[in-house]
Subunit: 201 residues, 2 copies
């Protein structure tokens, strides 16, 4: 009387469980205390696994942060992508994609900035890093899609502009000069730059 198809052996199930426990533990501790105030040992303890085991699931502490934050980022992107469709103005539409991402990133400033740091300077061969880059690519695609509504001719130009917007967002959120700024101030800063970038209509 088995519940039909259960292709996963005990080994696979255990691995999945452990990964879940690790993700949950890291997420809670990072959110509560900030990534710099949490040791990998604490995460291992909370996930109830050995020190070495932790690094079988995420090769570095940075990967661990990517693992945790990717989920939030992806969700923010999805929300923005949906909102953008309803905005007639190009700049507004772009900002509807941008804003949720910035808000998500600034929930905890240190974690957000460290996340960006890992994204740009981490090892792209690592799986969670690759996932992060994929979300960035999706973000740029979404923005390029909005830009293309206006000028469907220059598709490659839209992609280039989207890439630039990506860079603007990155530095707006990451720069240490902006660390103390409110989320709203950063959104405005980004908006100003994008408005200069967009072709004048």
């Amino acid at each position: 009387m088995s519940v039909a198809p259960q292709p996963l052996g005990r080994r696979e199930r255990n691995k999945q469980q452990k990964l879940d426990r690790i993700t949950a533990a890291a997420d809670e501790l990072f959110t509560e205390h900030g990534v710099d105030e949490v040791t990998t040992q604490q995460i291992a303890d909370k996930a109830d696994i050995g020190t070495g085991t932790l690094f079988l699931y995420a090769r570095t502490k940075g990967e661990l942060l990517l693992l945790v934050q990717n989920a939030h980022y992806a969700e923010a992107l999805e929300r923005g992508r949906a909102d953008a469709e309803a905005a007639p103005e190009t700049l507004d539409a772009v900002m509807r994609i941008v804003r949720p991402i910035v808000e998500c990133n600034r929930v905890q400033v240190d974690n957000g900035r460290t996340y960006l740091r890992e994204m740009v300077f981490g090892d792209p061969a690592e799986p969670h890093h690759a996932a992060a880059l994929s979300i960035v690519a999706q973000t740029e695609e979404a923005i390029a899609g909005v830009l293309a509504r206006e000028e469907p001719a220059g598709l490659s130009e839209a992609a280039t502009r989207a890439h630039i917007i990506s860079a603007i967002m990155f530095l707006g959120m990451a720069a240490s000069e902006n660390a103390a700024l409110s989320t709203e101030a950063i959104v405005q800063d980004i908006r100003t730059q994008i408005s200069v970038l967009l072709p004048t209509t």
Copy 2:
């Protein structure tokens, strides 16, 4: 019977000497082996000072890299700034500022990328970090100056565009996807983006 104008006491002279030795040692070791392969201990040994002393002159290893690289960056900027004046076309003029900086940054890819990382994520209160930010500001000013030749009206817009170019340069040089690219490829990548950004003439 003092030797007249010697405003520097022995203490100050010693400090200067030590800083020089540290700078020289760090520069050589970083250039030869790459920042990640060099320990602070090696630098202290080569500079012939104690472990703790090193950190009186640069609070972190990152500051040490900033100290060393700032000099090279400043020089590259100066060269570019002079070259730019002779270029009639705006895009060309901007690229004459950009290119030497990229070339300087890519002399040793890892060091260049780490330098940028420290610039954005390091502690802006530290002196060498502040110096780095100052050079970035000068770079943006130089670029804004070039842009303002074309459209002297929108000064603030020129500054904003210069800031965006700064962001484009940063990510072009820092992104891990670009780590394997040749200097020339990166310059081209940056050029393409800037050409989209500049107001069509």
